[in-house]
Each structure stands twice: as structure tokens, then as C-alpha cells.
Symmetry: C2
Subunit: 321 residues, 2 copies
């Protein structure tokens, strides 16, 4: 089954969730309305809603509950994106102007605040203290991760552990919580909730590692930005860390980066990292996370959504864009 088929089968429910998000973020305040809807329409894969819905089938599937959980997670995600764009000084996201580019950093800041406020408002409708607690906890983790990311900018001394901790907070936690909450909102068994969490977490780790690899191996057309953009901005990801810590390219790389003017020599730096085993190492690590995700899946009951989650994990391991 292709990814498109999965989305096609779920299209009605995803549309409903999108309607819920759109209604939730609607406001008379024009700038906030336009900015948050621009962000919303830039869309993306709606992977969090997909995970919530699929996980919901492992319990007593109630779409009305799942819809709100999925919308809340997507809104948190949007809030972090708009604040990330300020940090990354990003003018485009998925080919569209970012809020900070179309308006400015201040509007981007308040649009993020607004989305967090709306997120809070949405979850008060859920009236499930367990879900509240999980959601408020991950929000803290995400923000701590974002400030760690700033701290680790241009830090070539950071360890692999620091990198993994950062991508956990940046990406994996929100995916883990998507499957977890889908199961909890459907009153699934505790064990089932735990395995679904593990699936989401491991897929999320693999997803971010592959994302970081693609920043080196993708073409400008595929990425919508030149290769090595993360690095130019000071975001040192796994391929670069491998190259500097574990490869023969170490000395040459240190020479290239010694005066911090990386962006001027970005092509040389990227070439050097590619010569190291950094890309292959990263892909292997991503593959290990995919296997762990699939091991968690195996322990789940055999329903057809289990197969779908398996397909998604396979797709993430192999994606090239």
C-alpha cells in the first residue's frame, strides 16, 4: 500500500480534523486570523492526526474525542513551527512565506502564543485529566528542547547523546504522544498504550534523523533550499557530528570550520561530511529506530491499522524527500 492510499482512505476524517482546527483558530483579530490560517494551510503531512486516528482503532474508536486530540496536537505543532521560524530566520516553509517573513518576528511570536492559548482552550473541552497532564508535560519538554537547540548552535563539541535528546524533544515526543493519546482517548489497554507510544517515539526519531540526512543529500529542488542549510544556520546534526567525532575527515573538517565562517565554505564542508561515513551511519541508526518501532508494533493485536502503521514506518525509512 502506498502512502497516498493511506491518506485517501482516511481523507474524510482528516478533513473533519482540519475543519476543527480551522474553527478553533478562527478569530476577529485579523492579523492573528490570517497568520494562523496561513500556517494552517501550509499544511504538511498531518502525520500527527493520522497517528491519533490509527492508534484510536486499538481501543473503542470514538471519532469525536480523537478529533479534538488530533486538532490539539496539530495546533501545538503549528505553534512550535511559527516560533522555530523566528529562531531559524526562515523565510519559507513548504514553499510558502513564513509568518515572520510575511509579517515580522513580533507577529510570529504572538501567533505562536495565540495558538498555544487556543490549544489550551481546546484541551479544556476534553475533560480528561490524564490527557491534560500528558499534553502539558510535552509542551514543557518541547520548549526545553528548543532552547537546548539554540544553546547547541555551532557547538561541534556536542555529543551524540545531546543530539538524540534534542531530536527527541523536537520531533519524536510529539509523534509518540500522538499514538499514545489516540489509544488513551479510546480507552485502550495500558500495554497497548505503551507499545503505541514506543512505535510513535521510534518512528519519530527515525523521521528526524532522515530529515537531517536529506538536508545533506537532497537537491535544491527537493528541499526548497540548498543542501547544507541546517549547517549554514549553525544546526549541527548527526552526519556532521559523526564526521567530526568518528571519521578520518576530522582534521580537514576542523580546519574548514575553525573560524566559524561556515556558510562561506558550505559546499566544501558538505563535501567533507559526505566523504565521511556520516550519511551512512545516520541511515543505519534511523533503520535501527525503525526496527524498534516495528518490534513494538508486533506486540499489538492484529488489526488492519497495524499493517498501516507498518507501511508508514517502511515509508519513513526509505523516504527521499
Amino acid at each position: 500500500m502506498k502512502l497516498e492510499d493511506i491518506y485517501f482512505r482516511m481523507r474524510r476524517d482528516i478533513k473533519e480534523i482540519e475543519k476543527e482546527i480551522s474553527m478553533t483558530i478562527a478569530t476577529d483579530q485579523k492579523v492573528l486570523h490570517q497568520a494562523s490560517h496561513q500556517l494552517f494551510k501550509a499544511g504538511g503531512k498531518r502525520i500527527r492526526p493520522v497517528f491519533v486516528l490509527l492508534a484510536g482503532h486499538f481501543g473503542n474508536y470514538q471519532f469525536d474525542k480523537l478529533k479534538k486530540v488530533a486538532a490539539a496536537l496539530e495546533i501545538i505543532h503549528m505553534a512550535t513551527l511559527v516560533h522555530d521560524d523566528v529562531i531559524d530566520d526562515a523565510d519559507k516553509r513548504r514553499g510558502k512565506l513564513t509568518v515572520k517573513a510575511q509579517w515580522d518576528n513580533k507577529v510570529a511570536m504572538y501567533t505562536g502564543d495565540y495558538l498555544l492559548a487556543k490549544f489550551l482552550q481546546l484541551i479544556t473541552e476534553l475533560e480528561n485529566p490524564e490527557i491534560h497532564k500528558i499534553l502539558s508535560k510535552i509542551l514543557v519538554s518541547i520548549v526545553e528542547g528548543e532552547i537546548d537547540q539554540i544553546k547547541d548552535f555551532n557547538n561541534w563539541e556536542q555529543s551524540l547523546k545531546q543530539y538524540l535528546r534534542r531530536i527527541k524533544r523536537k520531533t519524536a515526543i510529539l509523534l509518540a504522544v500522538s499514538t499514545q493519546l489516540g489509544a488513551i482517548a479510546s480507552d485502550a489497554e495500558t500495554k497497548v498504550v505503551r507499545y503505541l507510544y514506543q512505535y510513535g517515539y521510534n518512528v519519530g526519531m527515525a523521521f528526524q534523523i532522515i530529515d537531517d540526512v536529506l538536508d545533506y543529500t537532497g537537491t535544491t529542488a527537493q528541499l526548497g533550499k540548498p543542501a547544507g542549510s541546517d549547517l549554514s544556520q549553525g544546526n549541527i546534526t548527526l552526519p556532521a557530528l559523526y564526521a567530526v567525532h568518528c571519521s578520518d575527515e576530522r582534521d580537514q573538517l576542523l580546519e574548514l570550520i575553525k573560524n566559524d565562517q561556515i556558510s562561506e565554505k558550505i559546499d566544501q564542508v558538505v563535501a567533507c561530511i559526505k566523504r565521511s561515513d556520516g550519511i551512512e551511519y545516520s541511515k543505519r541508526l534511523a533503520q535501527r529506530y525503525i526496527i524498534k518501532a516495528q518490534e513494538a508494533l508486533e506486540k499489538l493485536p492484529n488489526i488492519k491499522e497495524k499493517e498501516t502503521l507498518f507501511e508508514i514506518s517502511e515509508f519513513i525509512a526509505k523516504r527521499t524527500y
Copy 2:
């Protein structure tokens, strides 16, 4: 009774609330910890906690519940302050360096996000859906108000109504909700809750109007910044709006501001606004809000905290710093 006496009498409970805030915002992430504690220590009058506690006496006073409500409101307030400092480009607040000055705008942004996340985490402990709903709703209002404030920057055409709506969201709502939630958390009667809300709201409106007046009439020593600072930054408050819309100074003022280089002529602009009746008009309007607050108070049962709330309203009407 003096304001100091009120604080002295409540000092133990306020200390406990401060401890709750400090524990809530503690984190291993060094920058977030330092930045949020710096903000916390800059302190201020803790007027929201004071309102929560005083209102709590109109019902079944349970300090443990009130403590969490008060801490949550103070944390929301801190989050909006740190984001405001980014908008206002403010280097100092209450004589201390702001987060954006000591670190930078990005740290200030994430410190605000972090505080909002912690706020959310704190209110999940309250397990009272009514309180959740009120708190999530005001957060939306506050953010909408902040973006309105940006929109209204340097807008001399704005109406009195726009100004009032803005200060409602900037200041009055949070004070209104402080007395309201203090009463709700103590299971006070519906009517009592309503009157306490009205008291907080009207005192809040008066407080902000007086604050805006003091920006014109205070000395640099009193304000910690030169008179007319709001205006220099483009924040057009009531005295200026009165001068341009309702006074004989209109033509001269329009001449002074016509090329938008206000900060260069700030002394002349301030003098012109002072010559209009703008300061007196604003004070009269503040006084009207104080009277409304006191009318709401009159309908409340005669307990000693009613007297205290009366004293606070009197103080706010007359304050000169």
C-alpha cells in the same frame, strides 16, 4: 490602613505562593531556569495573588487551592511580560535587566513559551473544568490584545473604544479573573463571584489608565525612564488620544507628529499633551472606574477583606508611582 500593612498581614501566604511559583518554574535547562527566575525575582506588587487571596475569603477559604490559582495567574503575567519586553524593545523592567536584554529576543520568546507551558501544567493540577475554561479563555484575550496593541502602534486615528478594549485585555481582565477565580476556588455564591469580577475589572481599568497618565506626569526617577516613553515607542494612550481628538491642541499636535519622528520632538509633544485637558480627563475616567469598583464592593458581605479591597481601590486611584 496603608498598602504596606495589607502586604504585611498577608506576607506568609504571599511567601508560600512565591515558593509555589519558584518550584513550578524550576528546570534543569539552565538558561530557562535563570531567565524565568530573573523575571520572577523582578517581582512587582504580586497584586494578582493578593486579589486571589482576598477574594477567597468570600467563600470557603482553602489556601492550598488558592495558592495554585494565584501562582498560575502570576506565571501567565510573567509570560506576557517577557514577550511584551520583546515588542517594546525594553532593556529594563523595575530597574533590572530584562530577559531580552540580558540574553536576547529568542531566549525571551522561549522563556515566555516555557512559562505558558508551566502555567498549563500547573492548572492541570487544579482539576476544576470551570477554572480551566476561564484561564484558557483569558489567555486568548490577552494575546489578541497584544497583537491589537502592535496594530495600534502610532495610530493616532484610533478611538477611545479601541484604547479601552486594549487596556481591558492588557491589564483589567487578568485582575478581574484574579478576584473571580479566588471566589470560584472557594465555592463562593454566583452573585459574589460576579461582584468580585466587577471589582477586579474596574480596578484594573483604573490601574492601567493611571499607569498611562504617570508615563506623562512622572519624573525620570519615579518612572525609571523619561516621561513620554510610551509615546516614543508608538504606544498612544488616553492623554494623547484626548489631546488629538477632543482638545484645542489638536492642530499643533498634528503638526508636531506629521512626519512620524515623534521621539525627536518628544518633549514638545509631551508639553502639548499636558496643555490639553488629557491628563485631567484620564484621571476623571480612572476615578469613574474606581467608583464602579467600589459600587460592586458595596454589594458584597461585610467581612474585613471587603475593607481591604476598598483600601486597595483608594490607593490605586491616588497612586503617583
